[in-house]
Symmetry: C2
Subunit: 158 residues, 2 copies
């Protein structure tokens, strides 16, 4: 079974290559593609956050991992399965990131904190609803906290 998707939009920002970790402060614009009109986004500005699902189009199909590896090839971290990490070289090459909604204007949505490069195809945009966030305590291994420590806005803005 194959599933065919068409991009609904395109990411516009000033990032051509992956550099550093401080994604959380970055501003991107998502421009909807035909046949979608501004109607598709109507009302999204009443939400503070959205989830953006996008396609890692710069990842070559042959570099997709299916087994275990050290996240970011960091020798200090354990070998874990590709579905136990969020790296881009994953089956189906989809990213999913929660962003802040900054502004909506016609078919153009401005967001903060999207970890995608300029030109990335957007597959879906969903509003974040409180009730869909994790219920109960969140637990994660030490390597994940370490990997994510530079992802947050705090350092970048200070």
């Amino acid at each position: 079974m194959m599933i065919s998707l068409s991009p609904i939009g395109t990411v516009k920002n000033n990032l051509q290559v992956i550099e550093g970790d401080n994604w959380d402060s970055r501003i991107s614009v998502i421009e909807l593609l035909d046949p979608l009109t501004d109607e598709a986004l109507h009302g999204l500005e009443d939400f503070s956050h959205a989830e953006v699902i996008f396609f890692f189009d710069r990842v070559d199909e042959n570099s997709v991992e299916t087994g275990v590896r050290q996240p970011r090839n960091n020798p200090n971290w354990p070998r874990v399965g590709i579905l136990a990490q969020r790296g881009k070289n994953r089956p189906n090459r989809l990213g999913a990131t929660i962003v802040r909604i900054i502004r909506l204007s016609g078919r153009t949505l401005t967001v903060q904190g999207l970890d995608a490069l300029d030109g990335t195809p957007v597959i879906d945009i969903k509003p974040v609803m409180r009730e869909f966030l994790p219920r109960g305590e969140i637990r994660q291994p030490a390597w994940a906290s370490e990997l994510m420590k530079d992802y947050r806005v705090d350092k970048d803005i200070k």
Copy 2:
């Protein structure tokens, strides 16, 4: 541009049709498909939650919405764009839900709170990391809180 995806797994549960809202207590099993092996999930049990991206395969392509509609056709709610709601009749027909990880055994992952029917194709599984959750206060319109009020586990378990 078209993007082709292959399912990485299949949802197994006892839900053949959509009935009611109390998804959060429901247990499902995700079975990985070839060529993925148990390696792909290795280490996921160290996380409390995962995000499952799946394909709404029971939604006919012709019933996909691209403009505005009242969520769940409820006349009390405002007309909002399909990308400002999480309904299944959306462009590309992808669902994305955060679930609790209950058990991992070989290629079989047992989860709680997946709002997908039996046989649903799974496209991706990602670990939930605290740092990827919304930063800052979460705001959502009244209709969204109302729609979600029966989604939580609380009622179902009491």
